[in-house]
């Protein structure tokens, strides 16, 4: 099975307006930089993006904001930490101005919603968020004396992930903390597209140490090691 594509542009060519797309990355680590740039270039609109934060330590995402491509964002740490930086930030401004709708979750819930989407589990209970704004509109149920919220799986049409190495069949290996959300998003994606720093032949990765099995990955594109821009968060 050769899942490789020649370029990021070709790998994302069929993404339509209105798609829901998840993006790996924890601030600066493990960003699908090349795929995100290609998406900005493609210019599709009305996107729902699922990502830790939009444009904080992640300039590529920011371009989607300034291009007006995003309709809705599902995040866990959406804004710059600093209130003053936030006030200047295009994403925060778009949210404040009602141009982008924002939905937020605690990280543990956010990532578990993605994993569950990939695991065929439509809903799960968590104690996180009880008694907070996160609980609004959600079912509360008591397990062993502790209140928990019902949270639902979050499937996505496309997932963009960034891996250190990948083989032609989609087996992926991440590097250090660049692993972060990439595996859960690969699981959640109906179509998962992996950009890999180095593409190898099937059999070159140690089969005992694959972070994301190829079955979760539909497309692979080699994009090299991204240049690092140490953005402020």
């Amino acid at each position: 099975m050769d899942k490789t594509y020649a370029s990021p542009e070709e790998a994302i060519a069929d993404i339509p307006n209105g798609a829901t797309i998840a993006f790996g990355s924890f601030f600066t680590a493990g960003k699908p930089t090349a795929l995100t740039k290609a998406l900005a270039k493609k210019g599709v609109k009305d996107l729902t993006v699922v990502v830790q934060q939009v444009g904080t330590g992640n300039e590529e995402m920011l371009e989607l904001v300034t291009n007006g491509q995003i309709k809705k964002a599902i995040c866990n740490y959406p804004f710059p930490r600093s209130a003053s930086k936030g006030a200047q930030h295009p994403f925060e401004q778009a949210v404040r101005g009602g141009k982008i709708k924002l939905e937020i979750y605690p990280i543990g819930t956010f990532v578990e919603k993605l994993r569950c989407a990939g695991a065929g589990i439509p809903g799960f209970y968590t104690p996180t968020g009880v008694g907070t704004v996160v609980a609004e509109g959600k079912e509360v149920r008591v397990f062993n004396g502790a209140e928990c919220l019902l949270e639902l799986a979050l499937p996505v049409d496309f997932a963009f992930v960034h891996a250190w190495k990948g083989d032609r069949e989609g087996n992926l290996v991440y590097r250090f903390t660049a692993q972060n959300y990439n595996n859960a998003m690969a699981m959640a994606g109906k179509v998962t597209i992996a950009e890999v720093e180095t593409l190898v032949e099937a059999g070159e990765l140690d089969p005992n140490f694959i972070h994301t099995p190829g079955i979760f990955v539909k497309r692979v594109v080699e994009t090299g090691r991204p240049e690092f821009n140490s953005a402020s968060v």
Binding site: F26, A29, P106, V111, T132, T177, N183
Partner: protein
């Protein structure tokens, strides 16, 4: 809000942030797994070098080492605050779903978090400052999971807001991170435990009396039988 204006900020210079961190470091037991939040909590790591304490970073790293200086920085090795860190012998990396399985699953012996407000019942408000005007949105990050999941939750914060308002209140009026989750509050003036009977004042910095602490706190304090001067 009426209570807020009643508190009295003392003349005594408070502890530096590093000293709050030191007091907390001295509370940590060897052999424990600890998660440190952004801000003062992160400074705790400066005081535990060489000790048998393992720091978890919720980005997906156990045995997270000290900050890495320029030249030693790797773009793929950052902590949850986006700072470059070192790896230690025995470190390991994992994905975020596993990281929060650990946190929510109760494997964190201690979490140290900053706070905007703490209530008399140990409610924590730390993720959303209404002054920022973001309504019901904001940066939750890992704070809610840590607050419900950690076996022991220590709050590290200044006693007052920059505007001089008290942060320890009968009831929080900022959006909550979690209810009844805080075990200990360490501020730049005092150490207060949250107990089923209420807030128990255990320690104050030199030159500050129990009465002083009560005056600077907008919630009723019970003075511990063994109330004493904070040792650092």
């Amino acid at each position: 809000m009426s209570k807020m204006s009643k508190v009295v900020i003392p003349e005594m210079p408070p502890l530096e942030r590093e000293m709050i961190a030191l007091r907390i470091a001295n509370m940590l037991e060897d052999g424990s797994y600890v998660n440190l939040g952004i801000g003062i909590p992160t400074l705790v790591s400066n005081w535990i070098e060489g000790r048998d304490i393992i720091i978890q970073s919720e980005i997906g790293m156990l045995k997270c080492g000290p900050l890495a200086d320029e030249g030693e920085q790797d773009q793929d090795r950052i902590n949850a605050s986006c700072q470059f860190v070192h790896e230690l012998p025995g470190s390991c990396y994992f994905n975020v779903e596993t990281s929060f399985a650990m946190i929510r699953g109760g494997r964190m012996d201690v979490a140290v978090l900053g706070a905007l407000q703490v209530s008399a019942k140990g409610d924590l408000a730390g993720w959303n400052n209404p002054a920022r005007g973001l309504g019901k949105t904001g940066n939750i990050g890992g704070s809610m999971d840590l607050a419900v999941g950690a076996a022991k939750l220590i709050v590290a914060m200044e006693h007052f807001t920059p505007g001089g308002e008290p942060k320890i209140l009968e009831v929080c009026n900022y959006p909550l991170t979690a209810k009844e989750c805080v075990d200990v509050i360490v501020t730049n003036y005092a150490l207060i435990e949250v107990t089923p009977k209420g807030l128990v004042l255990k320690e104050a910095i030199p030159g500050i009396t129990a009465e002083d602490v009560q005056k600077m706190t907008a919630a009723k304090l019970i003075v511990a039988d063994d109330f004493h001067e904070m040792e650092l």
